[in-house]
């Protein structure tokens, strides 16, 4: 057995994941895992934009919305169009990627911080457009009773298990795709742009094309997640895609480790777990011991905020860092000039 094979052995444990629904018969657990799977996909996609290419996209939920709404409009009674789920899994990522290009083409020439605010604006516009075009989207009520996916004549029904299995397959494809991207010529171009765009340009990298590719590919992941999530929930409505979803996915990246695929997956699982289990459970617990006034789920956004601030200050590379990103963050933070400045500030403060 070669060393490479031995090193990869632990990954075999991942093959046990599809068996979870057959061991844990609690449907709510499987349901949680299926939802968490959608967020893993989102995090993998945003990781391409923020982690690999270093572009801050604050409107990522917009692409999620586009993916979900394309399924809702093309596979329901809404217009009487019924494109099968499996085909939509191919179509929706393309639609999302197209919108990624449409947003990216005019804005990617902008500097990083302007890009952040434009994507933020885009993230606001898209759900609002779905809200306002009520003759097509039923406005705030959203579109419900979407087509149930079926495989070999068996409809998925309302059990979470088939969706969980689908999510696993999609995540596996996503991980494979993202890790190959990372090591590709394009992936190296993204890394170069992230570290120094000017230098990258001078090395002959077409930075606009590379950034556009990051936007489109990142968006396509959320198209995928959108289709699977919408089919599972059987409903799409504009309020599912607000700014806080974009920030939630960003927090997953920051917590897990931007640029590291496994880190991002861990980050998204941890936050999904916090959201769906820990906060409601601890609220229940508090209610049981007589603290009826507290509701920890209200602190959810505070938690995202604290994660973003605390991680950036104390461990910007995340829990499971990518080696390059760690070096980038620490190169600047461990700058001797800054340390000297902080030092002098403390001494002058003491005087």
């Amino acid at each position: 057995m070669s060393a490479t094979v031995r090193r990869r052995l632990p990954y075999l444990a991942l093959l046990l994941l599809p068996l979870i629904p057959f061991v844990d018969r609690n449907n709510s657990h499987v349901d949680f895992l299926a939802n968490a799977g959608a967020f893993v996909l989102l995090a993998l996609g945003l990781n391409i934009v923020v982690g690999f290419a270093g572009l801050l996209d604050l409107g990522y939920a917009a692409f999620f919305a586009i993916g979900s709404y394309s399924y809702a409009m093309l596979a329901s009674q809404q217009f009487g169009i019924h494109i099968p789920f499996w085909i939509m899994l191919l179509v929706a990522p393309c639609i999302a990627a197209l919108f990624g290009v449409l947003l990216g083409a005019p804005t990617l020439r902008l500097r990083g911080d302007y890009l952040a605010i434009v994507t933020l604006g885009f993230g606001e516009i898209v759900p609002q457009t779905f809200l306002n075009l009520s003759q097509y989207t039923n406005g705030p009520n959203g579109i419900s009773s979407l087509d149930q996916p079926s495989l070999f004549g068996h409809s998925f029904g309302f059990s979470a298990t088939p969706y969980y299995e689908v999510m696993l397959v999609l995540i596996a494809i996503g991980v494979w795709f993202a890790s190959n991207l990372q090591n590709s010529r394009l992936g190296r171009a993204w890394m170069a742009i992230r570290e120094d765009e000017l230098a990258a340009r001078h090395m002959g990298i077409n930075t606009t094309t590379a950034k556009l590719a990051a936007f489109a590919l990142g968006a396509s992941f959320s198209g995928l997640a959108g289709v699977a999530y919408a089919a599972k929930l059987d409903l799409v409505s504009p309020d599912q895609f607000q700014f806080n979803v974009s920030v939630l996915v960003l927090s997953m990246l920051v917590l897990g480790g931007m640029g590291n695929i496994w880190g991002v997956i861990v980050g998204s699982l941890v936050l999904s777990f916090l959201n769906s289990f820990l906060l409601p459970q601890s609220t229940n617990l508090a209610h049981q011991i007589g603290l009826t006034g507290v509701d920890f789920t209200n602190y959810r956004f505070m938690l995202y905020g604290i994660i973003l601030v605390a991680m950036m200050l104390f461990r910007p590379e995340g829990l499971i860092p990518s080696r390059q990103r760690k070096a980038e963050f620490h190169e600047a933070l461990d700058d001797p000039a800054l340390e000297a400045q902080e030092q002098s500030e403390y001494t002058s403060g003491a005087a």
Partner: protein, 305 residues
């Protein structure tokens, strides 16, 4: 035609509030090149501080004469002061350590601070809109069928006074000079003996105090607020700052008034304009960034490398 002029007045009042917020964005961006996402929430906080002052004073109905002036002054000063302090704390806590970090890092903490502030306000005043006591008498001046309310005049005058004093402060005082020097070249400014940290903290103090003033007038003008108010207002104000030329103080003012006008006119003349007003404002932002990234009054500068 009267409708048009009426919307002009409404747009200018709206724009006055955006302009005051935009000043803070533009100052902070000018000096440390950071989009302070938490700034919009500092503005909302200003409205809540105003509400707290009014509640503490037991104001419930309309006031006249000296009590009115006293209440206004007290509310403005308290909310400006408290917002200023909050701004300085945010800078100290979340931005200072990351001043030399990759650009992404302070942007992310800025988003985080914004979320934290929103949540704090939600816990403080609840998730629903909160009314403010309507203490400001609002006689309307009728000019040829166009009514100009006292509140509109208050908003526009306050915005103009603030801008002029800020402009004087930055161009005439020593601290203002230090700010301009720091914005131009931080290292060189430091070598000239300018205390960078104090100067940047001062920028946050003033910028956030202006957001506090905006929060006060918005409370008087609209008579209501909620914890999430600053998100949208902040985005529009940032658009205003970019439109005017980021880093440029008269530009931020101009941008604010233009955005307010665009919003008011669009609301009136585009069918369903109310629903689409955000979409229109952001489209303006994208168009400005593409065709005139330096803004209306800004000068095109080469990127600092």
């Amino acid at each position: 035609m009267e409708v048009f002029f009426q919307q002009l007045v409404n747009g200018l009042s709206l724009g006055g509030i955006y302009a005051l917020i935009a000043l803070g964005y533009t100052m902070v961006y000018g000096i440390i090149e950071l989009i302070n996402f938490a700034h919009g929430d500092v503005y909302t906080l200003g409205t809540f501080f105003t509400l707290a002052v009014l509640t503490a004073l037991g104001v419930s109905g309309e006031l006249h004469g000296l009590p009115l002036i006293g209440v206004i002054l007290l509310a403005v000063i308290v909310s400006m002061l408290l917002c200023g302090i909050v701004g300085v704390l945010i800078e100290r806590l979340a931005y200072r350590r990351l001043r030399n970090a990759p650009r992404l890092a302070p942007l992310i903490t800025a988003i985080g601070m914004s979320f934290i502030l929103e949540n704090v306000m939600q816990l403080w005043k609840g998730p629903s809109p909160v009314p403010l006591p309507d203490f400001f008498p609002n006689p309307a001046l009728d000019v040829g069928g166009v009514s100009i309310s006292a509140k509109s005049i208050l908003v526009i005058c306050l915005a103009l006074v603030m801008m002029v004093s800020l402009q004087l402060f930055i161009s005439k005082t020593k601290i203002g000079k230090a700010m301009r020097a720091t914005a131009q070249d931080r290292d060189a400014a430091q070598l000239m003996g300018i205390n960078i940290n104090t100067t940047i903290a001062m920028t946050f103090l003033i910028g956030s105090a202006l957001a506090g003033a905006a929060g006060f007038v918005s409370g008087v003008y609209y008579g209501t607020t909620w914890f999430f108010n600053g998100f949208e207002a902040g985005l529009k104000a940032f658009t205003a700052a970019v439109l005017g030329g980021i880093g440029n103080i008269p530009g931020a003012m101009l941008g604010g008034f233009v955005i307010g006008l665009v919003e008011a006119i669009a609301t009136q003349y585009i069918p369903g304009g109310q629903q689409w007003s955000n979409v229109i404002v952001f489209s303006v932002l994208v168009l400005v960034l593409i065709f005139r990234p330096a803004g209306l009054l800004g000068e095109a500068l080469p990127e600092k490398v």
